[in-house]
Every structure is written in C-alpha cells, then in structure tokens.
Symmetry: C3
Subunit: 140 residues, 3 copies
C-alpha cells in the first residue's frame, strides 16, 4: 500500500544504503500491522540539472512523495504520529548524511487498489493477518 517515491541526488545512496532505507521503511509499516510486502519503495536518481528547489539546481535534497492506500489516519493525534514516524525513518538517510529533505503523503482510495488480481483484505481482518504472516497475497 504505501508507495514511496524517493527522488535523490546522483550517488547519494549506495546499493546497500538503498536497501537499508527500504528495509527501514518496510519495518515501520510492518510494526504498524501491515503486511510487509505492501510497502513499495522506488529510488529515482535525479541529476542536479533536473532537480530544482525554489528554482535553483540542487544536489543536496531528498524529496519523498508517499501514497497511503490501506490506512488513512483519522484523528489529528494519529496524523501527527504518522508524520513523526515517517520523519524518523527518513532522518538517518537524510539529515545524518547532510542532505535536506521533504516529504508529503497523499491518501488515496482503498477501493481502487489491487495486488495480483486480489482486493487486499479489510484492515485488521483475519485474511490481512494471514497476508502479513505469509508476507504474500493469498486468495481468501
């Protein structure tokens, strides 16, 4: 469900760092009860001449665009928690590397979402827990 598009400067991350970053993202959603395989993270290298902040070319910024599909935080406290968790995931791969960063989350309709031909099971259902345990989409 969550789709992370990570736009980053050329060479900002080694293969190992990308893997660590993606694993950290997946673990965060898994800790919140989602099947781990719901989490898709795509890294996009953007060269300085194609990456602008305030109209200036940059090579020190990570811009993360996130879609949340399975879960939409309802109340302000939970939304704050979502913000903070995502910040905690990004910081080691941005601030601690001397990179500036920004993210925003969109929340898209759960009922227009399909994995391998299957409608993902309802939040908190037995089927969802099975998907989480097996870490794959299973007809239910």
């Amino acid at each position: 469900m969550p789709l992370w598009n990570v736009y980053h400067p050329v060479g900002a991350y080694s293969e190992e760092e990308k893997r660590d970053f993606a694993a950290r993202v997946a673990s965060d959603y898994e800790a919140a009860g989602l099947p781990r395989f719901y989490v898709v993270t795509l890294f996009h290298e953007v060269d300085r001449g194609s990456f602008y902040v305030g109209g200036e070319p940059v090579d020190d910024v990570v811009r993360v665009a996130i879609d949340h599909i399975a879960r939409h935080a309802e109340d302000p406290a939970r939304r704050e928690s979502v913000r903070n968790r995502i910040s905690s995931v990004i910081q080691p791969f941005a601030t601690e590397k001397g990179l500036r960063w920004e993210f925003h989350v969109d929340e898209t309709p759960r009922d227009l979402w399909i994995i391998n031909g299957l409608v993902p099971p309802p939040n908190g259902s037995d089927a969802e827990q099975l998907w989480a345990r097996e870490n794959r989409a299973i007809p239910y």
Copy 2:
C-alpha cells in the same frame, strides 16, 4: 486524463510490448467514452537496486500508479468495475509474463486540469464527443 505511471523491471518490456500495453490502456478508456488522447502512459524502467517490495530488491514486479481526472466512479458497483477493467488491462502484461503486479488509482480534481490551454469539456457533452471523434483538443 488518466495518467498511468508504470514502474517495471529493466528489460521487462520490448518497445513493441510497451506499445501494445499503452494501446490496450487507451482502448479501455476509449471504450468507456473518453477521448483516446486523454490517456497518457509513461513507462519507467527501475533497476533491481532501486525497486523494493517489503524491503527486498525485486526484478519481477510491475507497480502501476494511476491518476483519474476526468471521471470519478461514484458508487461501489462502478468502482468495482473500474478495478476489474484495470486488472484486465494489466494482466496480460504482468501475470502472463510471470510478473507480480500492483496498482492503485488516485482521483484528482477535474477542475485543476488543462490540455493545451483548454479546460476539457464536461463529461458527456457534445464538445467532449467532438474531442473523442477528432481525437484532439479543439477550442469549443
């Protein structure tokens, strides 16, 4: 209107397959009454080291992110039909090639959408039908 961003493994599709895939997408929306040129499909090759599902690098997954602008399905039955149609379009280019796949659709505001400086005509209007017949944006 619909914008399809197709993130796929390196070499997953030949030029011909991409063209077939894109034509299939366009035909599906055209069959639903939309001008064919509304349909934009972009293919993005993502290498294994930049494509993660559940924190693991993958080279056998197609991830499609779709924006619907011109039409938003209102009731659950139509939304199910949208899901099924999109699934039918993707399957020959995923399941049948041994690739896992996932898509989600976002629905974005129709009134913040412009083609070649023109506000696309209202759903079902004579002007929209003209655009569909001529397959291009025409002042109306």
Copy 3:
C-alpha cells in the same frame, strides 16, 4: 509544497531552459506568498518508446503532474485562477516550442507534510512570512 513532476521528451530542454522553467514556477508561487523554497520541480526525460498518448508513442508532449500541499484553492474563481497561472507558466516552455502539453493538479493533506523535520507554519502566519523572507526552514 508544490511538487512539479515534468515529463518531457528527450532533449526537449537544455540545462538553461530547465533552470528558466523551474525559476518561473518558483516565482509564480512566491508571488502568491509562498516561501520560494517550497517549490520543487523535477524534470524527467522520457524517451519516445516509453511515452504514449492515446496509445501512440510521442516525442512532442510535455506532461506535468503537480501536487499542491500548502494551499488548496477554495472557490471556483480561485481555482480558475490557479489553472490560468499554471497555464501561463507552462506555455512558454511548451506551446511556444511546438510541444503539446497537459497538466493536472492534485491537492494533498497539509498535515502530512514535513520539511527538514519541521511542520511548515500555518498559511499567512508570521512564521511562514519569516520562512519566505529567509527562504529556508527555521524552527519556530
């Protein structure tokens, strides 16, 4: 806040044109009162075999996908103004170069947005004006 993803044909823009385009985008939002550094513009070169309009490969189309986060236009008149401003920004880099073009805007939740670990200050607040003047994120 606004994130512009500009999908364009290979070689459509020189480095200088991309910079001019991005500066023009930033200036438009700055004129509307936003901190200039809120504006992120990413250029993505898409080759003819990966860029389809109506199922046909193209190399003369610019497709811009925009997310608005900080400001959501409320009434129809302001939304029309948003459409027109964005059109005016794109036209010199599309129509005037013989390229067809299309954009759409999504409006995403302001409260799921973070820059450098900070919640951007409320619209029109003193802190926002400070961010605008200093053109950077400052703890407030």
